[in-house]
Structures are given as structure tokens and as C-alpha cells.
């Protein structure tokens, strides 16, 4: 299917290729652990082997004596982190980020209790194995289902109601079910890594895997009480993150401390096992949904309860029940969200945070309801289509989800779907179709971009934003090329450095929507500056190099900012998606194969078709992983992960994934920003797990409500 770039379904070869593609395919792209510098040393963390309690003794003698070891830093000898110390006259908050090497308390299994620094990685790793701690263990809890009664409402905001509570109960057709999304770990391919170097007592440089160099800079400045201007954070290439690099984690602080102790640059690279305990995860969440409808499929009420896990030292909150408030037009909705504190590390946002969890429950429940009332699940969604935001009554800035439904349904061949499971067989496998829909707030914030036209006609754009993979530099280059009317290869987009003009952290699908307008603004201002130089009557897109030469200028630059914009008060702004899946199920062995996928995104204007398509496909594959195989399993007796590696924690491999069709509505949202572009990263995943679960049910009649849908849950 060949179509021009700007239409709904680009092929993998269409659109502009990534501006950093060459660096990535040649191995020249440098990630945080890959910088060399004189005197570089290696830090390896030692994790606690109990889950709750405190350290009685910690024996570092053998480690300290091991060849090449420069230091073993523990709570007993660590320099103090100034920002962690109690301030006089101020109450000590009862919760907050884990304080590294602060005292002997253990809050979770794997908590760093020491960092060993040596001259080579091998020596540091071996020496770390020689650190032996003795503990006083206390009884721990790591299991959410058994401790749901300990749930509490976060910040007293856990309850929502419109209309009558529990109205679904009196509906003629209703479903009430519980759904489980287990702990799922981001597991980007790049292990989190940092190189920390003190350039002076109050000057720190780090090469760090982070989604936000400015946030990391500010966190480190606050913790070490040095001016933010003295902290330099480099994060030019980030090997995936999906949320895991949205905050500053203990290993980063440990590296900075270690660098202080040895007065040399220290590199700390987490192990894959560390990735399960050190950089967050999607929290295990229990949910219950009651949903009711009239005989003609009109929703009468939704009740959505959720309990998500958090650590004992921080309250991590997200929005799993939000989708039930706003996805469908329903007069009566009540939701309740609780947290349960467990003796585990703090979770963090993972792609489609909250919404992905909530959408699994809501979109599964809706599917179950469609069978109860015997209406096609697509029709049921159309019957309850929300034309305005249900919770506020505000109009949507744009919403073309109905068109998306139709496009996707046509594409997958929804017409071949039978409402009765086990109706269709193909080569001995049951065939099933399922759909799931997603929504995510369209956010934007201010950003600043420096645009500098060089004498040779090269345009350099600079801003501090990170690119964790979506292709930020590529999208921004496309925007600038259009604004300036110059070829993309004359543009260099520089990012991932805290010394550049400020930009928001890359998260919440907001980068293009936030930084894009700043690029537009900077280009506009730069063109204006050229106009002034040329005087009246100049072309809108002059030969910039020629103008500079004529005026004997080496370059011309502007630094321009976009604000967060307005519109939120008048409009509800969201991106929308729908995923259609065709699966094949072997009912005897429980094996599920994804046969076909069509994802339709309504995310405003598509700036960069090639990378946008990849992002949608990537989100869908993340959703397939969540649906079919991902689960971080704790042995609750020990509070320790038992599958903390890539052999036992399964993520999809190539053999699991067919061609995935990514379709775009591609209609600009005039409210969100000047380009009309909204986020697409989160919606690419939200709703996908339910689409798979619904297809599995449609194929073989097995309804799996606790993810992942592994063969044992489907067979028989």
C-alpha cells in the first residue's frame, strides 16, 4: 500500500529518516556509560539481601583489600548528602525519596547499601561480591492482594463521583469483575548509567541517562547544595527509558558520592537485575469495575475501584481510574483509588502511566458487557461516544475517535468477526478479534530554543530536551526546515545538555507539543531578524548565507521561548487511539499468536511520519508485551524478584510480532499549539492490552483478567 507522506498510513520507508540515524547505525552514538576521560573508575553497587529491617554490621575489609579497589562507601563512611540532612527548625517529612547511604535502615530488597569503586569494572564487580552485611530483619509485606485492606487514599483525593454512585447495579445488563495488572518493568535496553565527575568542590559534571537534564541538574544541585549553574548534565543519547529515567534515582546519588570519595570520575552502570529494583516500574494494581447498560447498549453507570502499590517511603500516584471518568458518555460514574504501602522500591510512571492500567480494566469490562448485552463491542463504544468531556462538560479541542474506530475496523476486517467465541478456525487455530481504545491528556509546557544561522547556511538549533528514542531531533528538524524553507540536512539540532536553553523533561507525550512551538517561535524570530537586516522588501525566506556574507556577519542567532499556551480552561485536550487485533489461539496448549494489528491514532497533525509510525508500532508492541508476557515476580517470602533478568522476564521478541499497521487521522488540533500536533507515545500503548485480551476471548472463550495472558491461563 503506497501512499503519499501526509496521509493516514505511511510505510516504513516513507518520510524523512532520523537525523541521528547514521550515528546510531554505525555505533558512533554515545550513551551515558560510553564516555572516556582520564582517571575513570568503576563503581558497582551492593544491594541489601533483606527486605525490611536494618544493617547490624557491614564487613568491607575483604572488598577494600581486593586488587584495584579505591573505596568502599557505605552509610558508615559516606560523605553526608547535604540536601538529605534535617534542617534546623523544620519538621522532617515522614516520606520522601530514598536517602542514599544515610543510615542503616532497609526499605526494600536490593536497596543499595554500598558502592565499591575500583580501577576496572571486573575488579569492582568482584570486590562488590565480597561486601558482607549482617542484618536485623523485620517482617515485611510485598504482596498487594493480601494487603488491600491497608489501602489509603492518596492526598485525600482518591474518590470521584458524578451522578449516582454504583448506578450500574440496577442496570438490566451488567458486569462486575476484578482485573490485575502485575508489576511490569520498563527495562529499556540501555542499562541505566552515570559517570559522575567533580571538577571542583562545588562543580559537578555528570553523563547520565535521564529524560530531563534540567531536572537532574536541579536534583543534584539541591542534594549537594551547590548552585544549579555549577552542575552540568549530559544526556545526548538515551537508550530507551519509557519513564524509568524521569527522576533522579539512588544509583545516581551513589555515583556522585563515590566520585567525591575517590576524587576521580566514577562510572556506575546498573546490572539488568538492578533494573528491577532501582529505577521504578509500573505498579501492581488491583482493579474492580462494575458497569451496566440498557438493552440498547446505553451505559447507565460505571464504578471503578483501583488499588496500586507504592513503597513505604513515598506515595507514588497515577491515574488508573481516570479513563472511566472520561472515556465514555455515562451519567453515573464513581471511582476510588487507593495506595498500598509495601516493602518495595517506589514505582514510577511507565508509558501510558495509570491510563494503560485503567484502560485494561475498562476496555475489558466494556467487552464483557458487549457479550452480556449482545451488541458488537465497536457498536457499543459508538453508542456511548463522548462528544464533550463527561467530567467537565467542556468541548474537546478535537476528537476524531469515531473516524478512528471506522478506519481501524475496516483495516483489520472487523466484519469477519463473529460475536460468538470459537466460531472461526484457521489451520487448527481459533481466530479472534478484539479492540481496545485509549486516551491521554494532551499536555504542553514552555520551552526555549536557540536558533543560530551560520555563515555557511547551517542552522543550529539548541535546547536542553532529551531524546529517549521517539526522534525529537528529527521532528524538530522537520519543523525548522519548513519554517526556514531550507533543506533538513542544513539543520543541526543539539539536545541533551543542561547548559542549553531550558526545555521540559521528555515525558507525558509532550515534547513535540512543547518544544515544537519554541522551534517555530525561534525560526520566526530569526527570520524577522534577517528581515530587519535586509530592510524593507526582503524575501520571507532569503538566502541566509548570502545575507550574512553581505553583512559580514559570522552568524545570526535568537533565543526564543514558547509558553505553555492556554486553552485548557475552555477545552478538554486529549489524544485518542484505538487498537484492533486479530489473534490465533491454540485452545489445547494455550498458545496465543498475534496475527494482525491495526492501530489508529488521533493525535493532531503528524509532524514526522516515519518516526511517528515507529512510535505507534513500538507502543503497540509494548502493549502486546504487557498483554501476553510481562510480569515481574516477587517471592513474597523473601521480598525478592525471582525473574529479574531478560531470560525469565519476557518482553516480545521479533517472532512474536507481525507487521503492524499504524494509521493516523492526521487532522491538526488548532487549540493545542501552532503546529496542531499532540502527543502519541502514551496512546500508542493505552488500550492495547485489552484489545489482545478481548481478541483472545473472542477466539476461544477464555476471559483472562489477570495479566499476562500466558498459555497456562488460556489452555483447556
Amino acid at each position: 500500500m503506497k501512499k503519499a507522506i501526509n496521509v493516514t498510513m505511511p510505510s516504513s520507508a516513507e518520510g524523512m529518516s532520523r537525523v541521528d540515524g547514521r550515528l546510531k547505525v554505525t555505533g558512533a552514538a554515545k550513551y551515558s556509560a560510553e564516555y572516556t576521560m582520564p582517571g575513570l573508575t568503576y563503581g558497582v553497587l551492593v544491594g541489601s539481601t533483606i527486605t525490611k529491617g536494618h544493617i547490624l554490621t557491614i564487613d568491607t575489609k575483604a572488598a577494600g583489600r581486593a586488587p584495584g579497589v579505591l573505596a568502599v562507601v557505605t552509610h558508615l563512611n559516606s560523605p553526608k548528602v547535604p540536601g538529605d540532612q534535617p534542617e534546623k527548625g523544620k519538621p522532617v517529612p515522614d516520606k520522601g525519596a530514598l536517602k542514599v547511604f544515610y543510615d542503616n535502615k532497609i526499605y526494600y530488597n536490593g536497596q543499595p547499601i554500598a558502592v565499591v569503586v575500583a580501577d576496572t569494572f571486573e575488579r569492582a564487580l568482584y570486590a562488590a561480591s565480597l561486601v558482607k552485611a549482617q542484618y536485623k530483619a523485620e517482617k515485611h509485606i510485598t504482596n498487594l492482594p493480601d494487603n488491600r485492606d491497608k489501602g489509603f487514599a492518596p492526598r485525600g483525593e482518591g474518590v470521584y463521583k458524578r451522578g449516582a454512585a454504583d448506578a450500574w447495579q440496577s442496570a438490566p445488563f451488567k458486569v462486575e469483575q476484578e482485573y490485575i495488572v502485575p508489576t511490569v518493568t520498563h527495562n529499556p535496553m540501555e542499562l541505566h548509567a552515570i559517570i559522575a565527575r567533580w571538577d571542583a568542590d562545588d562543580k559537578l559534571t555528570v553523563w547520565d541517562k535521564t529524560q530531563g537534564v534540567n531536572d537532574t541538574r536541579d536534583d543534584l544541585a539541591r542534594l549537594f547544595k551547590i548552585p544549579a549553574a555549577n552542575v552540568l548534565v549530559h544526556s545526548q543519547f538515551v537508550g530507551g527509558a519509557f519513564g524509568s529515567a524521569l527522576r533522579t534515582w539512588p544509583h545516581e546519588v551513589a555515583a556522585v558520592l563515590a566520585a567525591k570519595v575517590v576524587s576521580k570520575p566514577v562510572k556506575v552502570v546498573l546490572s539488568r537485575a538492578d533494573m528491577f529494583t532501582s529505577v521504578g516500574y509500573r505498579p501492581f494494581t488491583w482493579q474492580k469495575i462494575g458497569i451496566g447498560a440498557t438493552a440498547d447498549g446505553k451505559l447507565t453507570g460505571i464504578t471503578h475501584e483501583a488499588a496500586g502499590q507504592t513503597s513505604s517511603y513515598e506515595n507514588f500516584t497515577e491515574g488508573p481510574v481516570g479513563v472511566s471518568q472520561n472515556m465514555y458518555a455515562c451519567p453515573n460514574v464513581n471511582t476510588k483509588y487507593n495506595l498500598v504501602s509495601l516493602d518495595i522500591a517506589t514505582p514510577t510512571w511507565m508509558r501510558g502511566p495509570g491510563e494503560a492500567t485503567g484502560a485494561f480494566a475498562l476496555e475489558s469490562a466494556l467487552d464483557e458487557l458487549s457479550y452480556a448485552v449482545n451488541i458488537d463491542p465497536l457498536e457499543l463504544r459508538i453508542k456511548n461516544y463522548a462528544e464533550v468531556e463527561p467530567s467537565s462538560g467542556k468541548p474537546f479541542s478535537t476528537k476524531f475517535l469515531k473516524e478512528a474506530y471506522q478506519l481501524g475496523a475496516d483495516h483489520i476486517g472487523w466484519g469477519d468477526r463473529k460475536q460468538v467465541p470459537r466460531s472461526v478456525k484457521q489451520d487448527g487455530w481459533y481466530v479472534g478479534y478484539g479492540m481496545g481504545s485509549g486516551m491521554f491528556g494532551a499536555y504542553r509546557s514552555g520551552a526555549t530554543v536557540r536558533a543560530k544561522m551560520m555563515a555557511d547556511g547551517t542552522l543550529i538549533l539548541q535546547t536542553a530536551v532529551s531524546d529517549i528514542g521517539p526522534g525529537t531531533g528529527t521532528a524538530m528538524t522537520i519543523i525548522a526546515a519548513e519554517q526556514m524553507n531550507i533543506p533538513a540536512d542544513k539543520i543541526r539540532f543539539e539536545l541533551g545538555d543542561s547548559s542549553l536553553p531550558p526545555a521540559p523533561t521528555q515525558g507525558g507525550s509532550a515534547t513535540v507539543a512543547s518544544v515544537g512551538p519554541a522551534v517555530v517561535k525561534a525560526c520566526t524570530d530569526l527570520k524577522e531578524k534577517f528581515q530587519k537586516l535586509i530592510g524593507n522588501g526582503g524575501e520571507d525566506h532569503p538566502d541566509y548565507a548570502k545575507v550574512l556574507k553581505e553583512h559580514n556577519l559570522p552568524s545570526l542567532e535568537v533565543t526564543s521561548s514558547s509558553d505553555g499556551g492556554n486553552g485548557m480552561e475552555k477545552y478538554a485536550m486529549n489524544s485518542w487511539s484505538v487498537h484492533f487485533v486479530k489473534v490465533l489461539v491454540n485452545a489445547a496448549t494455550g498458545v496465543v499468536k498475534i496475527d494482525k494489528v491495526a492501530c489508529v491514532s488521533d493525535c493532531g497533525k503528524v509532524i514526522s511520519p516515519k518516526t511517528a509510525r515507529s512510535q505507534v508500532i513500538g507502543g503497540a508492541i509494548g502493549g502486546i508485551g504487557m498483554a501476553l508476557m510481562e510480569e515481574s515476580i516477587i517471592d513474597h517470602r523473601y521480598g525478592r524478584y525471582i525473574n529479574n533478568n531478560f531470560a525469565d522476564y519476557h518482553v516480545p521478541v521479533n517472532a512474536d510480532i507481525p507487521q503492524i499497521d499504524a494509521l493516523f487521522i492526521n487532522k491538526p488540533d488548532p487549540i493545542i499549539n501552532v503546529m496542531g500536533a499532540k502527543g502519541m507515545a502514551e496512546i500508542a500503548l493505552i488500550g492495547m492490552a485489552a484489545a489482545v485480551a478481548n481478541a483472545v476471548y473472542n477466539a476461544c472463550g477464555k476471559r483472562v483478567r489477570d495479566l499476562p495472558i500466558t498459555p497456562d491461563k488460556v489452555m483447556g
Binding site: G27, Y31, P188, M189, G469, P652, I657
Partner: protein, 211 residues
Amino acid sequence: MKSDKPTPETTDVKDSSRRDFLKQSTLLTAVAVTPVVAIKAANDHMDEHLAAVFEKMPLKMEVNGKTVNLSVEPRSTLLDILREQLDLTGTKKGCDHGQCGACTVHVDGHRINSCLTLGIMMSGKKITTIEGLAKGDQLHPMQEAFIKHDGFQCGYCTPGQIMSAVSCIREGHAGSEHEIREYMSGNVCRCGAYPNIVNAILEVKDGGFAV
């Protein structure tokens, strides 16, 4: 078989004091030895200097067409040697346990996981990493195809994917989409670029490019 004649593999062991040390070993037929005494000395921190000399062994191999002579600890993996000693950081560490494929390189033309390969066992071998795939400025067709079909997002698994993709065709396992998927399943991509990777490989295969 009692002989203290070095087998061909010992020819790079030139250090005579080292040879003398070896003579004390009961293991006369074996070569390339890290003496237990040295390890013990090192572990006990008794003689850092001695340890530093004897913990390491000479390693001569060819990397991207160039001969490299190194002194390595037997426990150092090929991956860590490439990344930390040769600054060839294109080869990635994703799991360090043979479970992700990010560290894939070619040894004598065959793809392997460098994280589970002891460097010392690469003596005399020809290693090709991602840095050695292009001919100067001219990218390998697989690199071009990965760019064209956007076979990556974050780029971290990409070098391993490309090395594996080249092997996939060389091995004759790129006959169909289905076969490519199976034979590319040793390379995990968390960003989810799989369909694009398959398209890139198909393009190179169908284009009849020499790989």
C-alpha cells in the same frame, strides 16, 4: 604427552619471567596460565605489583581488520574488552548474560554474544563489530536499510540488530518474513522496531546486496 614446548597458542607469550613461572606449574602441557600464586597474592593484596603483572595474560586478536595486542584478565569478557579497553562502544551491554543480543559481534564471520565470551578465548580470532561494518564513509547496505526503514528508535539495540541481520542473510535464514522473525529473535528491541527491522532485512535480501 609431557613436554614444555609451547603449542602454537603460546607463541604470543614472550615474557621470559612469565615462562619461568610457568615452568613451576605442574601443568606442563597446558599453556597460557595465570598462576594460582599470583591470584592468591592478588586476592590477599600481598603484592599488588606482582598481581598486576600475573593477573593478566597477553591477547592478540584482529578487531575490524586491525591486529590488537592486549593484556587482559582471563575473566574479562570480549564485550568489556571492546567497550572499556578498546573504546569500541558501538557494541552494547543490555543484559550481560546472553539474554538480549545487544552485544552481538561477528567472530570469524559468525554472530555470537560477546558478553558470554571470555576475551582470552578470542586469541587469533577475527572480530568484527558495528564500527567495522561500513567501508569508510560508505555505509553497509544493512545500515542504509535500517535508516531507510527506521529499524530502531533509541538506537541502543541497533548495532546488535544490524550485526545479527547481516548474519541472518549470510546464514541463509532470510527466506521469508517468518524465517527472519525467528532468526532475529535473539536480539531484543524494547522500543519495538521489529516490523521495521524485518523490512530492512527484506530490502537488503531482495535487493541482492552483498552482505
